[in-house]
């Protein structure tokens, strides 16, 4: 089957193509070069006047795993209020803030997204996460294994184990949990919470292990780099949501001593303590540091006003926030030797000073950070807002007039504390394509996604250009997933199953001896059962594993 996408205006930042009119050819799910004149083209889509981009990639969205499921169970009102009925093609589902798995897949695809990554896959819960993602149709997916507060790793750090052993453990975790990255949440803090610490700063010791978040960050960022894993250590820093946490965030940027770090939902970590209410924007300083430190990338975690639910591995901060929840309920959980989590429903209000300023801080960071290859478009779904609000967020970034109109409706005290109205920058379609396609693919390490070059997987989204960017990005004309037309005019027309992207870094298998001993002594499951196999993920025709290339093991870097 040879398909021609004819005459669309193409935005492909990976190849520096900025709105050039080009034909794209697809054969057997891949983008191919222009065929010979005597080859028959089976199907042609006339895309003249349309905007063509690679399928969008959400590099941080909570779509599978324990805490999402807790959020689903906790919020029957969320599900009742937002039902989606079954159709001849799609299954029924429900949920605005925490949609069910099938609905998640359909809604992403209908918005032109073809991949989404679960950033907090707890290794002990990896099977559950992959099963949920296995029920999420159409889009590709993957997960970042969450370690750094796990007992085994903290023991290694406390015992001053050699970096090579740590690298082996990290690689083992990535294999066992079928991950494509490593994430650390409140480094060491999830564990410190279990020893009754209620706050933990970058250089503060965990009372039990006597290790600091800085040591955790250094060991893990180095491990990820030395293993050749393309995605840098994914960091949810200490002190999330705490006024004045911008200092911690600035220090965190230096904690890896030059190794790459990705700071996630940085909006929640960019608060100062100025003003009458001791809560102010740290966006300018954070953006300046991002501009300066080329080894650091970030996604924003923009908040948007409405009911949502916050779900995080950060039990320490979620416990502190649990009294602010609306509706007032919460789950704070200890998860075996590995981690913890906290789920707190939240309603962001534009007339609330703090929420309004959070909204402005997020946008300030977007607009003050120069390099779109190192800042990513997220709402930390569902923590800042559900992923379905991305088109609205894109409009805020691309349309200054609209942004200023929205800003003028905010809590007045918050307006007085923000410089947002004075920022003229508007993102271009090219910038958006970087943030949501080329940059995201590069950051996650998806070599054959996020671009439209020959050999790439044919994940392609076609939009009708519209000055109202929210309308444009909410309803693509066509979405192709691996060369198949899956969405037409914003509605699913075919249900396919995406790949689960992973990396498989080399490691010394001898580490399993220590790990097995540890499992036998402390864990509730056998080490072998902890591992998620390739077959489990492919079971029932639900996609399969796609192994992305690792750059190979680097001994002693820097």
């Amino acid at each position: 089957m040879l398909i021609k996408l004819s005459g669309g205006r193409v935005y492909d930042p990976a190849h520096q193509i900025d709105g050039k009119v080009l034909d794209i050819y697809i054969r057997d799910g891949r983008i191919v070069s222009r065929p010979r004149d005597d080859e028959t083209i089976d199907q042609t889509y006339n895309l003249s006047g349309k905007v063509v981009m690679a399928g969008a990639i959400d590099m941080h969205t909570h779509i599978g795993g324990g805490k999402v499921n807790i959020a689903r169970m906790m919020l029957p009102e969320d599900h009742r209020a937002d039902p989606s009925h079954h159709s001849a093609l799609c299954r029924s589902g429900c949920g605005h803030a925490a949609p069910s798995t099938f609905t998640t897949g359909y809604r992403y695809a209908e918005m032109g997204y073809t991949a989404a990554f679960e950033p907090a896959l707890s290794p002990v819960n990896a099977r559950q996460s992959h099963l949920e993602m296995g029920d999420t149709p159409i889009i590709d997916k993957g997960g970042y294994a969450m370690i750094g507060s796990d007992d085994f790793f903290l023991r290694m750090l406390a015992a001053k184990k050699d970096q090579n052993a740590i690298n082996d453990y990290v690689a083992w975790i990535m294999h066992a949990s079928q991950a494509i990255g490593i994430k650390v949440v409140n480094p060491g803090g999830i564990n410190a919470f279990k020893f009754n610490q209620r706050a933990l700063d970058l250089d503060e010791q965990n009372v039990h292990y006597q290790v600091t978040p800085r040591e955790v960050l250094k060991a893990l960022s180095r491990a990820v780099h030395e293993l050749g894993v393309p995605h840098p250590l994914h960091v949810h820093g200490n002190n999330l949501g705490v006024p004045g946490n911008m200092e911690t965030t600035l220090k965190t940027m230096g904690a890896s001593e030059g190794y790459p770090l990705h700071l996630t939902h940085i909006q929640f970590h960019s608060y100062g303590t100025e003003g009458d209410r001791k809560f102010s924007s740290g966006a300018a300083a954070i953006a300046e540091a991002l501009n300066k430190n080329k080894n650091i990338s970030a996604d924003v975690g923009q908040i948007l006003f409405n009911q949502t639910v916050t779900a995080s591995g950060d039990n320490m901060r979620q416990f502190a926030n649990s009294t602010l929840g609306s509706p007032r309920k919460s789950v704070i959980m200890d998860i075996e030797c590995d981690s913890g989590c906290g789920v707190v429903p939240f309603k962001y209000k534009d007339q609330n000073f703090v929420n309004a300023l959070q909204w402005a801080i997020g946008l300030e960071i977007f607009l003050l950070t120069d390099d779109p290859w190192r800042i990513f478009l997220t709402t930390d779904h569902p923590n800042g807002a559900p992923f379905t609000s991305y088109p609205h967020l894109i409009k805020l970034l691309m349309d200054r007039t609209f942004r200023n109109e929205m800003f003028a409706k905010l809590n007045l005290d918050a307006q007085a504390m923000s410089t947002l109205a004075s920022i003229d920058r508007e993102y271009s379609l090219y910038d958006i394509a970087i943030m949501t396609r080329a940059g995201a693919a590069k950051l996650v390490g998806l070599h054959d996604r996020g671009h439209l070059g020959v050999g790439a997987g044919a994940d392609i989204t076609v939009y009708t250009d519209n000055a109202d960017r929210e309308k444009m990005f909410a309803k693509p004309d066509y979405v192709f997933k691996d060369g198949e037309l899956v969405v037409k005019d914003g509605h699913v027309v075919k249900v396919t199953w995406g790949h689960t992207h992973t990396v498989k870094p080399d490691f010394d298998k001898a580490i399993e001896k220590d790990i097995k001993q540890y499992f036998d002594k402390y864990h509730t499951m056998n080490m072998e059962n902890f591992k998620v196999s390739n077959d489990e993920i492919a079971e029932g025709g639900r996609g399969g594993i796609a192994v992305q290339a690792c750059e190979g093991r680097r001994e002693k870097s820097l």
Binding site: M73, L75, P76, E77, R80
Partner: protein, 268 residues
């Protein structure tokens, strides 16, 4: 004007959701529109006249004749008027009832008066479990109104009840008043084990001392003047409770496992 009557034509195989058939939702509709009302039947939506012979004109007085336990959500969210059900009713009878009256001449399945907020539900028969409870997953049950049951009620009667009155003339299953937050439940017959389990506040009024679990505490015998006022307020209710006038009770407090401010009063 004769009551708008829905007479069930045949035995149902699937559950039938009659939420759209209430006086307020049909008030401005003609018979053609009423017949065409779409109802969920299992997983399909079908016209009301597929299931019912429809007659009468008075949309403020609706009657279900020959009704069955497969008919769910009778009186859903009703705000005005009156519904009389002859035969049995399915789950969620008087679900989120706000105002008006629902009378059942037969037995109801589970979740009758679920999340009810006001009005009157009168059952001349028995009801299933979770009478006056919360919608699954919600933290608060019935919020107001009056429920009178002439027969027996199942388990978990008044689970998480927040306000309002439930009066049962027959017996009640186990866990009566479980996790109750406030409101009043009266029972003339027997109650099964674990009455007031996890009860936070609220009042359970009984005529016989029940079997009590360990975290319900005996507080001795008292004369409580407020009972006279309460029974006076029952005078006009179509229930045997309207005949009671007594204020000497043995008082138990609980569930101490959950705040313990609830009370179980046994008339002496």
């Amino acid at each position: 004007m004769s009551a708008l009557t829905f007479s069930l034509k045949q035995e149902l195989i699937q559950k039938l959701d009659v939420s759209p058939i209430t006086p307020d939702k049909l008030s401005d509709k003609n018979i053609g529109e009423i017949s065409a009302t779409l109802l969920w039947y299992g997983k399909q939506q079908l016209r009301a006249d597929n299931f019912f012979l429809i007659s009468g004109l008075d949309t403020q007085n609706i009657v279900f004749d020959n009704c069955s336990a497969k008919v769910d959500y009778i009186g859903n969210g009703m705000k005005t008027g009156r519904i009389i059900v002859n035969g049995n009713a399915g789950a969620f009878l008087a679900f989120q009832l706000q105002k008006g009256e629902v009378t059942l001449n037969g037995n109801a399945a589970d979740f009758a008066a679920c999340a009810m907020a006001g009005g009157l539900l009168l059952v001349n028969g028995n009801v299933g479990d979770y009478l006056g409870g919360a919608l699954v997953g919600d933290r608060k049950g019935m919020r107001g109104g009056t429920v009178i049951v002439k027969g027996n009620a199942g388990e978990r009667t008044g689970d998480q009840m927040r306000r309002g009155l439930i009066l049962i003339e027959g017996n009640v299953g186990s866990y009566c008043g479980s996790r109750m937050l406030a409101g009043t439940i009266g029972v003339l017959g027997d109650v099964d084990d674990y009455i007031g389990y996890g009860m936070k506040r609220g009042t359970l009024l009984l005529t016989k001392t029940p079997k009590l679990h360990a975290t319900i505490q005996d507080c001795g015998t008292h004369t409580l003047p407020f009972l006279s006022l309460m029974f006076k307020s029952f005078r006009n209710l179509p229930s045997k409770f309207s005949k009671i006038n007594q204020n000497r009770v043995q008082r138990f407090a609980g569930d101490v496992g959950n705040d313990g401010k609830g009370e179980i009063l046994v008339l002496q």
